[in-house]
């Protein structure tokens, strides 16, 4: 059985006097341990889709099943990583990472221990007491990862996590993210990544779901069977990129 099952998910927003359809009949499965990337042009509703999976945004119709069961409200087995990092400026790095643990009602000692472990894991050892405004963009997103990983979710949801970073920082962080994902002591194995960067999707994911806009719908679901670590300069990589690019272009 798939870990996540999306069945005919649709989403309408109230728009002026009428409604605007953002997502139309989205169905796909995510297996345990799978790394899925959702690629599409801006406005195709891919970020909304991620929030529907998490349960933050209610869907208009359809179903999201987790381990075969429908989740009421927020699915606490998921954790989100944001493009804007979404760190609270008034909390230290440690307090930001502890946020999810605090919401789960963990005692202080346990929170501190776990926050320490994951701050260490993303390479921010020594920055526990720093405030977000004192950190660079790349470091902020490391805090974002640590915060999501600290709740030890079964599914990691990433909303354009590298898009607000400069190109070089993004490359480093992508590699480190992959390393963390592939390391044996990592509890989270299943990742859903939303991005508009085609190369990023093909480099990272086992499967790429291509979306088109107006309303947002799936146009292609393709497996990426390149061996890791993946080299962006190979011909097969470029062929895949071209394929996805033309899929998006002809519908966009």
């Amino acid at each position: 059985m798939a870990l996540l099952e999306l069945k005919q998910v649709s989403k309408n927003f109230a728009h002026g006097s009428g409604t605007l359809q953002v997502l139309d009949d989205i169905s796909f499965d995510v297996d345990e341990g799978e790394f899925v990337a959702i690629v599409g042009p801006s406005g195709c509703g891919k970020s909304t889709l991620l929030r529907i999976i998490n349960g933050i945004v209610p869907m208009t119709s359809g179903q999201v099943l987790y381990r075969g069961r429908q989740v009421d409200g927020i699915n606490l087995e998921c954790a989100l990583v944001f493009q804007s990092f979404a760190l609270l400026p008034w909390l230290s790095v440690k307090a930001n990472v502890e946020l999810g643990l605090e919401a789960r009602g963990l005692p202080l000692a346990e929170r501190e221990k776990r926050a320490g472990i994951y701050i260490d894991k993303v390479g921010l050892d020594g920055f526990e007491e720093a405030y977000p405004r004192e950190l660079s963009g790349g470091m902020k997103q490391r805090v974002g990862f640590a915060r999501a990983l600290a709740v030890e979710p079964k599914v990691l949801l990433m909303d354009e996590p590298f898009s607000a970073l400069d190109a070089l920082t993004a490359i480093t962080l992508r590699e480190e993210m992959l390393d963390i994902w592939q390391s044996p002591d990592m509890p989270v194995k299943t990742i859903v990544l939303v991005t508009h960067i085609i190369e990023e999707a093909i480099e990272l994911a086992d499967r790429v779901i291509v979306m088109a806009t107006g309303p947002g719908r799936i146009v292609k679901d393709l497996k990426v069977e390149l061996p890791r670590p993946r080299d962006r300069r190979t011909e097969t990589f470029n062929a895949l990129t071209d394929q996805v690019f033309s899929l998006i272009e002809e519908r966009g």
């Binding site: 929030r51 998490n54 933050i56 927020i74 606490l76 998921c78 954790a79 989100l80 944001f82 493009q83 804007s84 990092f85 979404a86 609270l88 400026p89 008034w90 909390l91 946020l99 999810g100 605090e102 919401a103 789960r104 009602g105 005692p107 202080l108 405030y131 405004r133 915060r147 709740v151 949801l157």
Partner: protein, 574 residues
């Protein structure tokens, strides 16, 4: 219940605040018990009792502020929930803010004195209530705006962790409101002093209740011709305001910066008056020293407390359910109370208005006209000197650097404190009309000047350079650039100026000085005379209602459209 843990930092902060509060309270009560038998009713004021009066005023302010703070957080956050809450609560603020607060003081005194079965405590409650209404609205609006502008991603981040209720309030909503709360608290204290002094003057003047405070001290000193006491009272007030700025607002403003989202760094930064910036470090330095002393013993206590066994913790679901029940109960109780109060008020209104109307009713329209003329004269005088000042400031940075801090300091002094001085001067040299206009002026001109200076400072340097480079004459520069650029600020200043002006009007159109009543034709004097002399409920109500009507109509038909027009047309986003 909410998983409270004890750590040393929190203990230090807690005990520091507690010690500070206890010290101020102890000082007050010690002084009070010492002074109580010294100050019987209506004994002539004297210098040795000045601290007592100052304490009374300060505590009245503090009580009102604490209530206003709690109220504004609840009100603002409820309004920010959106939907029906927002559609009702936000327009309500708009109306409440434009209603002249001082006009309600007589009604409030009667209501609260009746509530307190005639005891003096009723007058205290009325004064606190009045100051509260002058402080709460802008703070509530600040909280509302702050919560509304929290980025969606921050909300989603907490939501995705299932963080709700108390945790969401503690970690997201309250911290996000801190910068605006601090900034608006500073403004609220300025307004609060103004109204407090007004209330205290009214009580010793026409209302002849006993409300000891700096306002009544100043008034009595003026009446008794004790010029030295008058000056001492004014200096005491100035000292309290400066001290508040140094020990409270400057450190708070600095601390509030930590709660700001980075992208919002430039807009509406919290700032204290910035007086005597050389002394600005004192407050934080003292706090740091106290912290250093308190930290070791508190660390021991924290360890001891944390070692103690805890009670059972509620699960997330249980506490969520409890929160929902509490919220439903509170909202229900508040709604029932409001409905009850509205119904009572409505029936009282009908009952009062169904009594025979006195013949003075026909004085209301000419009185309103006379009052409006007085306001217009004061407004014209204010414009006559503030606009040239703003133009000069935009031309000369040096003039601006001198004028701005002076305007800030003088503007933060409650102009009502000068009323006794004005009366002393005016009764000797002129009429009540003059006193009234001068008092309105003391409020209006500063608000105009502040806003105009702020507007003039916002004119971009490169636009000024461009105007010079094209060889525009000074007159042409003013007409083409500076005046249009400051117009939105002029309107904003005018709205605030007129809003406060009505209060000054009520205070100044009717006063009792040396047992003699001074009054002029005006809506404020009609209201005061009806309240303090004839006690005619119909007249009180009709004058109050017609004044509110005029204020609201002026706002809706003149200021609001002007504001929309000018901000649309003269906005500086080029």
């Amino acid at each position: 219940m909410f998983g409270i843990e004890i750590n040393q930092r929190r203990l230090v902060n807690g005990s520091l605040s507690f010690v500070a509060l206890a010290a101020i309270m102890a000082l007050f009560f010690a002084y009070r018990s010492h002074a109580q038998h010294l100050i019987p009713h209506n004994v002539p004021v004297s210098l040795e009792h000045l601290p007592y009066y100052a304490f009374c005023s300060f505590y009245r302010m503090l009580a009102a502020y604490i209530i206003a703070l709690l109220f504004s957080i609840i009100y603002g956050m409820t309004a920010a929930r959106g939907g029906l809450y927002e559609r009702i609560l936000i327009p309500a603020i708009d109306i409440a803010q434009s209603v002249p607060v001082v006009g309600f003081f007589p009604a409030a005194v009667y209501f609260f004195v009746a509530l307190a079965h005639g005891s003096r405590f009723g007058v205290e409650m009325a004064a606190v209530f009045l100051i509260f209404t002058s402080q709460a609205w802008n703070m509530a609006l600040g909280v509302y705006e702050a919560v509304k502008t929290i980025p969606d991603d921050s909300r989603d981040a907490l939501e995705s962790f299932g963080a709700r209720g108390w945790l969401r309030f503690k970690r997201l909503l309250l911290p996000a409101s801190v910068p605006k709360l601090v900034y608006n608290s500073i403004l609220s204290w300025v307004a609060g002093w103004y109204f407090l002094i007004a209330c205290e003057i009214i009580t010793v003047g026409p209302a002849s209740y006993w409300l000891p405070g700096l306002g009544s001290f100043l008034w009595q000193a003026g009446e008794k011709g004790r010029n030295f006491d008058l000056v001492a009272g004014l200096l005491t007030l100035l000292a309290i305001i400066v001290a508040m700025d140094l020990i409270v607002w400057q450190p708070l403003s600095m601390w509030a910066e930590r709660f700001r989202y980075e992208f919002a760094a430039s807009s509406g930064a919290a700032q204290s008056l910035g007086m005597f910036s050389a002394l600005a470090g004192i407050g934080p330095a003292v706090t740091r020293a106290l912290r250093a002393i308190l930290l070791p013993p508190m660390a021991l206590i924290a360890t001891a407390l944390n070692a103690m066994p805890r009670g059972p913790q509620l699960s997330a679901e249980q506490s969520r359910r409890a929160g929902r029940i509490v919220r439903t109960l509170v909202v229900g109780a508040v709604l029932i109370f409001i409905a009850w109060a509205l119904a009572r008020g409505f029936f009282a209104l009908i009952r009062t208005l169904s009594q025979p109307w006195p013949s003075e009713v026909k004085e209301i329209p000419p009185a309103i006209l006379a009052s409006t003329i007085r306001m217009t004269i004061a407004y014209a005088i204010s414009l006559a000197w503030t606009v040239p000042c703003a133009l000069a400031a935009s031309e000369s940075p040096r003039f601006n650097r001198i004028l701005s801090p002076i305007a800030e300091i003088v503007g933060s002094m409650p102009a009502t404190a000068l009323f006794p001085v004005i009366v002393v001067a005016v009764v000797r040299f002129g009429g009540v009309n003059l006193a009234s206009i001068v008092l309105i002026l003391t409020w209006m001109q500063w608000y105009l000047l502040f806003n105009l200076l702020a507007g003039a400072n916002q004119v971009p340097e490169d636009l000024k350079e461009a105007a010079r480079a094209f060889g525009l004459s000074r007159y042409a520069r003013w007409r083409k650039l500076t005046l249009p650029a400051v117009t939105p600020s002029l309107i904003t200043g005018s709205i605030t100026g007129w809003g406060g002006g009505w209060n000054a009007l009520i205070l100044s159109e009717y006063f009792v000085y040396k047992n003699q009543t001074y009054q002029v034709l005006g809506i404020g004097s009609l209201l005061d005379a009806a309240t303090y002399k004839t006690g005619n409920g119909v007249m009180i109500l009709l004058s109050l209602l017609s004044m509110i009507l005029v204020v609201l109509l002026l706002n809706r038909l003149m200021w609001r459209p002007l504001y929309n027009l000018t901000t649309e047309r003269y906005r500086l986003d080029y």
